[in-house]
Symmetry: D2
């Protein structure tokens, strides 16, 4: 079984491939309430027919052992099969249709090439959506080298399409851990080219450069990091005084947070439950544990579809909000016997205990929208008196001696990562923020950013939002001079104080 992540000498053992797959999303303490929702392997598969085509190939040769050349004669890449480029191009074109913010960024910034001179080394999921980002960076003047942040998530045909157009990509689906670090190394360590910008998702690339090529940081103008984990690592570096370049925390930008949590969960909870269980929502008794943004999104959707929802909370302020929003606030033990569905969104551990699982009624569905795989005490279910029956992918029936079945989804891992897809529109917001962060750091006058971790300037948050408004045919109102003066605002924003709660 493949193992990724961690330095060779500090290897970590993973129980199985699925845990592995979520590795880079283990939220740490610092980020526990703002979970990153990246695209996962399973979701990728489900919306890529080409992927299944390419995966069915019987080609077992390691890409590292193949000699491949693109149509321009370059061999500075390593992908599964360069011949899949055409399929990948189609995927990219489809993604472009929902990522018009990046396309318009290309157009707006094209004249000035704000990334002319930028040499970006990137380590992200390699999907059609990332390809749109990478090609946008190129269009803005950057040179890019790219590798995957996850050994399973690469869309091979997309990697091929990028390689075909001349972006040195080193990634394929199903890398070994050795492959993983080899790919990163091939991105960074190349003759005659030295990165001056880093775009990272998870912090592995940054970690590698720190360990192996610290001198690279002399030229690097900044790091842009997207994940909770990576951001946490950066804050730790900063705290330890070891961060030697400015870094931009993209994960916590307002638009990303709201979309990744409230709105995205509003949509994905229904999808995740339907795809796995074909449940009818009307009249179902549901308890949602936790009424943060994730919980709010879940509750809104479920209530709207006719479920009868109650919530549990530890925080009286969130509890008061739940009351005002029309949800009963209960203790889990008070209602557990009656519930048809139990959903955890707390970011905590053991929110659903074995004792509560024992008290659930027959047919109760249990799933987790919150925090990796800690919220439901799944381990407690792996005991001899209980029978596990896998009835469908991501769906287990846990059977009690008396015949009672509890339906556990995704073995307690994140439901929406495992069993639903992330809309391209959400990925577009993240990608646009990443592009703007790179532009900002690359072009910032010296001294604007120190060796610290920054949030994107508010005005750029607003710019990201404004680039996405055309998707909705939304028309912004402009302040008149008189109004701007009255409000004490610049007509172009920012429009709110930093402490504003959207």
């Amino acid at each position: 079984m493949a193992h990724k992540h961690g330095h060779w000498k500090e290897r970590i053992q993973f129980a199985n491939a699925e845990d592995k797959q979520e590795f880079s999303k283990y939220p740490t303490k610092a980020g526990r309430r703002s979970l990153s929702r990246s695209i996962s392997q399973s979701s990728t598969d489900s919306y890529s027919s080409a992927a299944s085509y390419t995966d069915s190939s019987d080609d077992e040769t390691s890409p590292r052992d193949k000699a491949q050349v693109n149509s321009h004669g370059s061999s500075d890449f390593c992908v599964k099969n360069i011949k899949q480029a055409e399929f990948g191009r189609r995927e990219i074109e489809i993604a472009e249709q929902d990522m018009s913010a990046l396309i318009s960024l290309r157009k707006r910034a094209q004249g000035e090439k704000p990334l002319a001179g930028a040499k970006i080394v990137g380590c992200t999921h390699i999907t059609a959506q990332t390809a749109v980002l990478i090609e946008t960076l190129v269009a803005l003047g950057a040179q890019c080298r790219w590798t995957a942040c996850n050994i399973y998530s690469t869309q091979n045909e997309v990697a091929a399409a990028l390689a075909e157009t001349g972006v040195p990509v080193f990634a394929w689906k199903g890398e070994s851990e050795d492959d993983f670090w080899w790919c990163i190394d091939r991105c960074v360590n190349t003759e005659g080219w030295q990165a001056n910008m880093i775009l990272d998702d998870g912090g592995d690339l940054t970690h590698w450069v720190y360990k192996k090529y610290p001198s690279v940081f002399k030229k690097v103008r900044g790091i842009v990091e997207e994940s909770v984990t990576g951001v946490h690592r950066l804050y730790q570096l900063s705290k330890a005084g070891k961060l030697c370049v400015p870094a931009m925390n993209v994960n916590d930008s307002v638009t990303k947070q709201k979309f990744d949590n409230l709105y995205c969960c509003r949509e994905s909870i229904l999808d995740g439950l339907k795809r796995t269980t074909d449940i009818m929502f009307g009249g179902k008794q549901v308890v949602v544990c936790g009424y943060g943004e994730v919980g709010k999104g879940c509750c809104t959707a479920l209530k709207a579809l006719g479920a009868i929802v109650c919530i549990t909370e530890i925080d009286p302020i969130c509890a008061l909000q739940a009351c005002m929003d029309g949800f009963r606030v209960v203790k889990l033990s008070e209602v557990i016997r009656q519930m048809d569905v139990v959903i955890t969104c707390t970011g905590n551990k053991n929110v659903v205990t074995r004792e509560q699982l024992d008290r659930m009624k027959n047919g109760c569905i249990v799933c987790n929208m919150g925090h990796s795989n800690t919220e439901i005490d799944v381990a407690s279910l792996r005991s001899p008196e209980l029978t596990w029956e896998r009835v469908r992918s991501q769906v287990d029936h846990i059977i009690w001696p008396d015949g009672k079945r509890v339906i556990l989804l995704a073995e307690g891992r994140l439901l929406n990562l495992s069993c639903s897809t992330v809309p391209t529109f959400v990925l577009s917001i993240t990608a646009t923020t990443q592009a703007l962060a790179l532009i900002e750091l690359f072009n910032a006058p010296e001294g604007r950013y120190k060796q610290d971790v920054y949030l994107l300037p508010k005005k750029m948050d607003e710019y990201v939002a404004s680039l996405h408004l055309p998707n909705f045919d939304a028309h912004l109102t402009e302040l008149s001079d008189e109004q701007a003066k009255y409000m004490g605002l610049n007509k172009n924003g920012p429009f709110k104080p930093n402490y504003y709660r959207y």
Copy 2:
């Protein structure tokens, strides 16, 4: 246009399997506004892991050519593979958990065996849910022989499980048309056993008996018919004075209608769109054509998830309801350029024309929730200047010469039959109604029912509903004597006049 219900000599060719699959659901004029939403092949597949197991077998021998015996030594059945019985049993047990109304019917009526003496020949989809119905009928005292109403919809392992317990089942997935009628014939034409009740879905069984064994009707106490098509045929027979036994129209019972249309569409529109396109609903501009029950269900769900919905209507009363419910009422041509999604729910034809398809914006999704495949003028899209690209199962991109893509779902056929599943709970309501209709007809004193088509008595509608209330832990209030007297009602119902609009 192809019609199925011919006999051998009027055989028809089907363009392809998918048309076939829906053929028994072509709504006729009479039923056009209350479309039957039965389980489809695709939905069956998606929730039956066992089915895919059995389908992957390479066994190409026709079941008709096999000699099979169940563990009790009987060979009075014809299924794909009797050895799959165990898998089928598990599927049935899972279905039982969501069909507690039938289970409680078994319990309540068990003592008296209200179907003792009943000999029921049935022709329905053969799925886990129908199996629960059949086994309920048996538990109530009936003898049953069963066949499939659709050549594709049989769950082979369920058929095997039924055959194993002694129910003579004649059905498998992928029958030829010849097989289809052969199976029906084997059900009806058996030595030493003559049906006295018919349970039909689509009218083919009834048709067969009329054509081949009219004398059977001398003993038949009644027909119970579930589908729009079958009911239409019965009304035509009745009108022509040819209906020679009482028939019960199960399709138009209140509970079935409300669940099949309003509530079921409320849930399935989201599911169908998500599974095919991964669309984000928030902020999407959607036009729903038609504001009947189906349209109301779609609009409710889409609005709740943040879509901006407008509707088109021909009927001023429905239009006024749409206004009061907060939807703009527009003509399609007025808004077509701005729409992200177009959904037809009218029961009419050519609601979306080629001219309107030409004016849609790039990326517009078009689908049909209403009426077979007539609502969108799909034929007009099969012209040389347009390119069709199948991007996923049930998803086509139609590409205009200028590169514009319109995303057509299920080739204009019913989205929720093709791309989502029907909750077991809805099927439970139908099955319970069928069981009660059989009991009613079988036990009715002579003279209560003439040679005509009847709706289930209101009190039985209420009984069906009451059997499903425990699923929701709902507690009915009982009238006091004084209140019943004041209202002029019997304490046990019926509670509403016949003309009441729920």
Copy 3:
């Protein structure tokens, strides 16, 4: 204390004026589930500043004792004060703005004067809205004489405005019962003019003509009746074979029913509760007794504003709908201790008993949206151990010996009649239906209508709806010839079968 209604010799005793005021709305058995929601005295007051102006006059002279002449020299009327005509005209003009359906009816039908020759005697509430109706009838060619159906509800200045333009009106606010019948008599019994149409609201006018001037019916082409009570009387007459002219039941037309119940209650429950108690809805635990149209309207609104709503039902079908709509279905006794608000919408009696009132928590609000004043057992609260404290108009605190207070609204009478207003738009629908019913009956070819009670033809229901669509800027779609043929419909409707449930 004034007494109205009933023939002098069959006088009925009323407990007090407020009961009196609702008298004509006592639903009878036949109509008990479709309660008429007419404008009430209190609601009239609250939206008429002019009314309060005129009411404050100290003029105690009976209108019957005054000699008044309008500016055209006519004295064929009897109103409070003809000089208030100008104020009344303004009220009428304001009402016209929200009754554009009638205005457009005037325009559309003006050329042909469909009521030319009609001599209509009317007995309704006399308000600005009715005035718009009356003046529409006149514009369509009719001659009208008018009187009030309620001794309290007349807007004096509106009556004056009508009298000023030449409509013989006999009505004022605060009539004695003797006045009431005198006014009716003056309308009917006038020299040289004999009514050929009757428009009634409550049946008193019809009753009077039957009793005193039966010969009038020789010329009468039809009766149009709006109220539950009046319609009930007509059905009784019909059943008894005593109905000697066709009658049109306006009360049960689809548009009126839906607006009067579902939509109107959706709006008025919030208004009624707020105006009386200033309650904050968010988080309130509410039980709604009865999930018919009235209950559905209440529940929708309360849930939307953040209340936590559960319902009680006797009918399993409605209970199942409540479940699917996301409401817990409970017995009142199970939840009564926790509730903040109890609302009755059943049409039954003693739904809230003294025992339940005893168990309510301190501060619980109790009110009735359903049926006159029978639903809450208010009588049981008039016992010595309880203290009543009137804290505001229509708001009583009932105080238990331990200090617990229950807040009773409108003494258990209809909350929305007593404590909120009826939108002019709803009255417009009723008035338009009345006008069309008159046109239909007056112009119907002989033989179309027998001596029976009829509902408005479906096509006219649709016409009423269509006349109200411009208020919403709604644009109807028209069927193409091809589509109409396919559907088997006339392009101009009717669009639905009679049994259709909107």
Copy 4:
């Protein structure tokens, strides 16, 4: 524009009583987006039957000229009429029922008397709700002297009830400005008693002490300020280095903000529109200008009741939220012709201009939920060609030469202050926060608070919330030791980082 806060020598003239009434709520720049929503005169009236009783008295003698003594023999107060104490007591008791948080605070803190030794001088609206606060402070050990922050808002009978129990109150409804400052002076400047805490609403009391008795600040441990205006003044003092004691900004506490804006507006927009116009919401086209918390609250309620809502925004982030929440984002000029209702919630000026008013359709309703009276350019309507017609209290018809009427509510002032009421529950949250702020400042160890403006510690925010949960019968979950450790949280909170967006 008039400003109140001058002292005698800088006296200002008020245009009329209504301007006066709102003057202490003029938001200043700093606070413009978080408008304080205090109780207003009109709202007070509407829920106090006693008030109207007492107001109808013909007693024109100035309270300053009366000699009054309470039943304990004290004359250290000045109220309208001490004999009204009993009526006031009933009002206070009713208010107590909805302010159980304060009652429970009394109970919880009673043993320790956390305000023993506190001498609080207060200047707030004097209403039943404030009386509950004052009596809570007394129960916690404080001595209080009190005056009114608004010359119109005092409930005379409540002032009397407080005076009767021994609280020196100096306030009556309808003070002159001279009275206003005289009352403040009598509170502060009293022999043998010197305040050590200040509770202010608007900053007038604080201002007075600064100007006249600066030495008082030597003993004052802190100021608690509730209003936007007062808080703004404190920040200015602080900035200017003139703040000589710690001050607590109660206005910006999380619970107050959320309730005053989102939730409170969600409820009051419907109430304000209904009470003034009896509008039916269903199908109405509404544009809401501004999608901050106030706008969000308005939009949620209106959409839920069937209105068709679009919004205008200047801020792309809020605009994106509006899109995701299902509202079209438009420019006002694009839609103004079609709208039935226009609502401003921006905090800006001239959002609705004369040009837009000219383009509105007949019957359009215009009102302001946002910012004092600047949002609608009402001044532009006071021109000779337009006719104003007052049709009801707070409702004007502006009539164009062609007869078009625009319905202007509250002359463009805040609709919910003028035309609806503030729920006691919201006032309870504010009052509880004030009490806790006083306890915190009074008991804080020296050095915890400097001469600066503070927000209430997060933990106390949570405590305020927790005190209000019993109103909803909400049950908080407690962290286990293990969970608390895992989350790095104290089991008693605070539960969120300071930057958390609820």
